[in-house]
């Protein structure tokens, strides 16, 4: 796709851009009218229904949902119709009309998406950068104060340390288990069932998973009957029960287990597909060359799916940087388990300091940027 654009060459690009500029007013006008018509229509129907129907919230939600979708569709329909009336594909000016309509139509299709992306993702990134230079309420300019505070803050350093631990352990462990599960399940008759079951935690919320694992880690004083599975096993083996999530440093790993448990299925599904994509001939050739199953796996299969492994790894890495619910639910950052996302949430909701919270959010963003750049480069390669 990108290539068609690239090969149009500088000359074609120049005229394309110039004609693009001249179409902006019409594009905006058509878009605005389309939006206005559809939103006004939806609001009118909603007002009418609200007047007729008794106040039922679920019903209200369904109505609003339908209206939202109808308004969406209404926008696309009306703006297209408008464009076709403006520049009909017939008559004396057909060539000019078509060129203009074709220049404008993509923007009509893209309009709502661009507006929403702009408000919900692009604007916040810029605004967060600005806010990081402001005080708690976002009104007083404090310069680099928030950054200075951050540099000297113990909890921040703890969060960074923990985040790095998470980054080192979780993607590696999830990818490893995923690879093992993928390799093993592909070789057995009930592999698909096994895959489904290992994949299932993907569907469970972080908070639900936290409840599940908190139950596993449940602790009763020594001598009492342990109802947490982990302590029951430890006791059975002759050890003494522990309050696992309060054990400094190591508790981080007990939290990580939750995320590994969730993400292994993801890694497995992707890697399994990649393994199946390996040309069967290369494996058969290795079998004839006398390679053992393990050698085939490590020397033939794994090297052929490095690209996919990297993708899985980075995807989980991004998720890890944003991990929040698990820490919030299991420890809320106590006992040395704080992470950046939860720390940011803490300053936002309990500290009520938007400046500091924005600064912490920016740190998370900066950690994501290298992956973002890598992704864009990979994607551009793909599109060529």
């Amino acid at each position: 796709m990108a290539v068609t654009h690239a090969t149009t060459g500088p000359a074609a690009n120049g005229t394309g851009f110039a004609s693009f500029l001249t179409t902006i007013p019409v594009t905006l006008a058509v878009m605005a009218i389309g939006l206005a018509v559809s939103i006004a229509g939806a609001v009118a129907v909603y007002a009418l229904l609200a007047f007729i129907l008794p106040d039922s919230r679920l019903l209200g939600a369904i109505v609003v949902m339908f209206l939202g979708v109808a308004a969406c569709f209404g926008y696309f329909w009306s703006s297209n119709k408008l464009l076709d009336t403006f520049y009909p594909a017939a008559g004396a000016n057909i060539a000019i009309n078509l060129t203009k309509a074709n220049a404008i139509r993509p923007w009509l299709f893209l309009g709502p998406a661009l507006i929403v992306l702009g408000i919900y993702l692009v604007y916040p990134v810029i605004n967060s950068i600005v806010l990081s230079f402001y005080g708690p309420t976002g009104e007083n300019w404090v310069g680099l104060y928030n950054y200075q505070w951050l540099a000297g803050d113990g909890a921040f350093r703890e969060s960074v340390r923990n985040n790095i631990l998470w980054l080192l352990v979780v993607p590696a462990a999830a990818t490893f288990f995923g690879l093992v599960a993928a390799a093993l399940t592909d070789r057995i008759s009930w592999g698909n069932l096994a895959k489904s079951l290992i994949f299932m935690p993907m569907a469970i919320s972080f908070i639900g998973a936290s409840v599940i694992w908190k139950f596993i880690y449940d602790y009763r004083p020594e001598g009492a009957e342990q109802i947490g599975l982990l302590n029951a096993i430890v006791t059975l083996l002759g050890g003494s029960p522990q309050a696992w999530i309060t054990v400094p440093f190591w508790n981080n790993f007990f939290l990580m287990v939750v995320l590994i448990w969730i993400q292994t299925g993801f890694a497995m599904v992707i890697l399994s597909a990649a393994l199946r994509g390996i040309p069967e001939e290369t494996i058969e050739a290795a079998v004839i060359d006398g390679a053992s199953p393990f050698q085939i796996f490590y020397k033939i299969k794994v090297p052929q799916i490095w690209g996919t492994i990297a993708v899985v790894w980075t995807t989980i890495t991004i998720l890890v940087l944003k991990v929040f619910d698990i820490v919030l639910a299991m420890t809320n950052g106590q006992w040395g388990t704080q992470v950046l996302a939860n720390y940011m949430f803490d300053w936002m909701f309990r500290g009520l300091d938007f400046g500091r919270a924005s600064t912490i959010a920016l740190v998370i963003m900066i950690m994501v940027v290298p992956i973002m750049i890598w992704n864009i480069r990979e994607a551009r390669k793909d599109m060529r």
Binding site: T7, T8, G9, A11, A12, A89, I94, A95
Partner: protein, 362 residues
């Protein structure tokens, strides 16, 4: 019905020109085949007629109308694609009716036209099926049916048979020929890289190479009187043998010297070409085995391909870079290393000048 007229048609992507100014007139009711090696621009040219590619320069007329800026649907064309391009989620009927539905034609009209087209193509039993429930040949017929329903002035076929297996390809080729016979007024333009399709279907063939027209003409003329070396070697299989030769004597007839031997050809040559280097061409099927040393060319047998109906013999000739190929009828036996003498009738010989143009087309 209408013909297609191209005046100096050009196409370039950025600075890369792919069609270099083509002038061509396709008459109403004609079946014209564009043929050429891959990358020669034949599909691009067809897509420019269809309106799927913009025209960078020149004028394109369908009938009386200049269509450069007209959208595909208003050009009065229909196109059959290589991959059939059936809408997979629609039944055969809906596939064929789609264009008319878009044009908001009355239901009864749509029904009538679709039924007629289905009848012609023997698709009536399949009208309610989805494309995935059809065989490759049936799918291709639906694609053709879709074109017929549009009742176009010009039919465009973009390598319509290349996704079919060999047997089906022959059968469908014959069907397309019949279709053309049943619609003598429709203009059809057909793109292929397969010269058999080109030779069997075309009223006229347009041979393209690197964005230029090499020759336009009826199939047999292209075969018998190729305008240049490219056409000579593109049409016919195995390709025409070409050897270096020198003109000995010019005039109404031309005498050439081929190594030690001489040959008289019934081809006129201008006086200023006396002594000039030329390319001498002869088709493998026009060569015969002569008794020892009495032929035009002697060669040493290298490879023998016995195909049953014919035998292809590849011979190494002294001082010639390429081997000479001889196509002999039936089964023939040769020993490797055997010296064979080859002859040909003078009227089956071709002469091309230094630039590759045929002396008949100077």
């Amino acid at each position: 019905m209408a013909g297609v007229l191209m005046k100096n048609i050009k196409k370039s992507y950025g600075t890369t020109a792919v069609i270099h100014g083509i002038n061509l007139e396709i008459r109403s009711g004609e079946f014209v085949v564009f043929v050429g090696p891959s990358g020669c621009g034949k599909s691009t040219l067809l897509r420019m007629i269809a309106g799927l590619e913009s025209i960078t320069g020149g004028d394109m007329y369908i009938g009386e109308e200049r269509v450069n800026d007209i959208p595909p649907s208003q050009r009065g064309i229909a196109m059959v694609f290589q991959s059939y391009a059936l809408y997979p989620h629609m039944s055969v009927y809906d596939n064929m009716a789609f264009g008319m539905k878009i044009a908001k034609a009355p239901k009864a009209d749509i029904e009538k036209r679709v039924r007629e087209a289905a009848e012609i193509l023997q698709l009536t039993p399949y009208l309610n099926r989805l494309p995935k429930a059809l065989s490759g040949g049936q799918r291709q017929r639906v694609a053709i049916g879709r074109a017929i329903v549009r009742n176009p002035k010009v039919f465009l076929f973009d390598e319509p048979l290349s996704n079919l297996d060999a047997a089906l390809r022959v059968a469908t080729r014959i069907e397309i020929a019949k279709l053309k016979e049943s619609m003598p007024d429709s203009t059809m333009i057909y793109v292929t890289h397969d010269q058999v399709e080109a030779m069997t279907l075309a009223d006229r063939i347009v041979v393209l190479s690197a964005g230029n027209v090499e020759q336009v003409g009826p199939p047999i003329e292209l075969y018998e009187r190729p305008a240049n070396l490219f056409v000579a070697q593109f049409i016919g299989s195995p390709a025409m043998n070409v050897q270096r030769a020198r003109i000995d004597q010019t005039g109404e007839k031309t005498t050439i010297r081929l190594g030690e031997r001489k040959a008289d050809l019934p081809i006129p040559s201008p006086a200023d070409m006396a002594g000039a280097e030329v390319h001498f061409g002869v088709r493998p099927e026009d060569l015969t085995v002569a008794s020892n040393g009495n032929g035009l060319i002697d060669g040493r047998v290298n490879i023998v391909e016995s195909l049953g109906e014919v035998t292809n013999v590849y011979l190494d000739v002294e001082n010639a870079p390429e081997p000479i190929v001889v196509k002999l009828p039936g089964v023939q036996r040769f020993n490797r290393g055997e010296i064979v003498s080859l002859a040909a009738a003078p009227d089956k010989m071709h002469l091309f000048n230094e630039k590759g143009r045929s002396l008949l087309h100077l």
